[in-house]
């Protein structure tokens, strides 16, 4: 076999292996969970967004603020669900912030806590332990602290977070924020904004 032919065979084999791997690892579609407390907007909206975030991720904070404003402008046209994807190998408070959020969601206070946690992200991200500040936020959001403590001590909240992260990984997510807009995956706020322009050309 001559060198050119060998080169062609190697390149074709590489392409075949990668295409085969992608087919084998073909990622699932994300299902909307209609019972979820971590949702806002109109469930009948023609634009449904599922967002996977890490609460310590600065880009996620920017995305949350962008989407809040966007949904306020288009309240009937967008439905948003938030799922957990803590990047625990990069953000030391990723899991604890998700736990507080999940426990707040169980009292119907997910967005109330989110409205306090996100604007102060830069402050608590630098702390060795953010729990005192999270407890203060929880109190301010009207969360029952006894129920919060019970939730934090249980395994069920952590299981929900880990299950959603596993789901995210099976969907091919490896960074945040990742959005599924009517099941189309986009990563980062810039791509989110570009994709939303397809649905809302004037925005």
């Amino acid at each position: 076999m001559n060198k050119w032919l060998s080169t062609l065979v190697i390149v074709l084999a590489l392409v075949g292996l990668i295409v085969g791997a992608k087919v084998f690892l073909a990622h699932k579609k994300v299902e909307i969970d209609w019972q979820m407390a971590r949702a806002k907007g109109n469930p009948q909206a023609h634009v449904k967004i599922v967002e996977f975030i890490d609460f310590q991720c600065p880009a996620c904070a920017y995305g949350i603020n962008f989407l809040k404003t966007f949904i306020d402008k288009h309240p009937q046209d967008v439905y948003l669900q938030v799922r957990y994807f803590p990047l625990t190998n990069m953000h030391r408070h990723a899991m604890i912030s998700a736990l507080y959020s999940e426990c707040a969601a169980r009292q119907g206070k997910f967005w109330a806590l989110d409205d306090l946690m996100i604007p102060q992200q830069q402050q608590w991200a630098q702390l060795i332990s953010p729990e005192p500040i999270f407890r203060a936020m929880a109190q301010q959001a009207g969360i029952n602290l006894d129920q919060l403590d019970t939730c934090l001590a249980s395994d069920s909240a952590r299981k929900v977070i880990n299950d959603e992260k596993s789901l995210g990984q099976s969907l091919g997510i490896n960074s945040t924020p990742t959005y599924f807009i009517n099941n189309k995956m986009v990563v980062g706020v810039k791509s989110l904004q570009d994709e939303l322009k397809n649905y809302f050309p004037g925005s």
Binding site: N2, K3, S6, T7, I10, V11, L14, I18, A21, K22, L25, H27, C57, P58, A59, N89, M90, G172, I173, N174, S175, T178, M185, V186, V187, G188, K190, S191, D194
Partner: protein
């Protein structure tokens, strides 16, 4: 043997990097490229879809020692691009948490990456300077 070891190592870096990006949705690498704020939007999408294939092919060719003088030159150019792109991001203080170099497999801070890329650039230059030694135990030596 040292040059063969370096060649295999450099090839492996690109191989792992390319595979890591190719088996995950291209949107992940697109996000990485956007963070460096170097290209226009259409360039970002094109790069996100094509660049991992270039890395994979260069990686395999360098690893196997196939078209060695060209594949090592290509590796040199790629490391040069990485140093420039990461360097400009550091100079501009862009908010990069991870370089995104290996898809989602390994996370390196940009400050670490620029050091590693610079060392890799020098090692690749060494390979190019001593191609006879680099080509030992290579497919090129089998065909030549």
């Amino acid at each position: 043997m040292l040059y063969v070891f370096i060649r295999v190592m450099i090839g492996s870096i690109f191989l792992v990097s390319g595979v890591g990006k190719l088996i995950s949705p291209y949107q992940n690498f697109l996000y990485v490229i956007q963070a460096y704020q170097v290209l226009p939007s259409w360039g970002e999408v094109l790069t996100a879809q094509i660049f991992p294939w270039i890395e994979l092919i260069v990686g395999v060719f360098v690893f196997l020692g196939l078209w060695t003088s060209w594949s090592v030159r290509a590796a040199l150019v790629l490391f040069g691009i990485f140093v420039v792109v990461v360097g400009q991001a550091l100079i501009r203080h862009l908010p990069l948490e991870s370089c995104g170099c290996f898809g989602g497999w390994i996370h390196f801070k940009p400050q670490t990456v620029i050091v590693l890329d610079s060392i890799s650039l020098l090692l690749t230059f060494l390979l190019l300077r001593s191609l006879v030694l680099t080509k030992k135990f290579s497919l090129d030596s089998y065909f030549d």
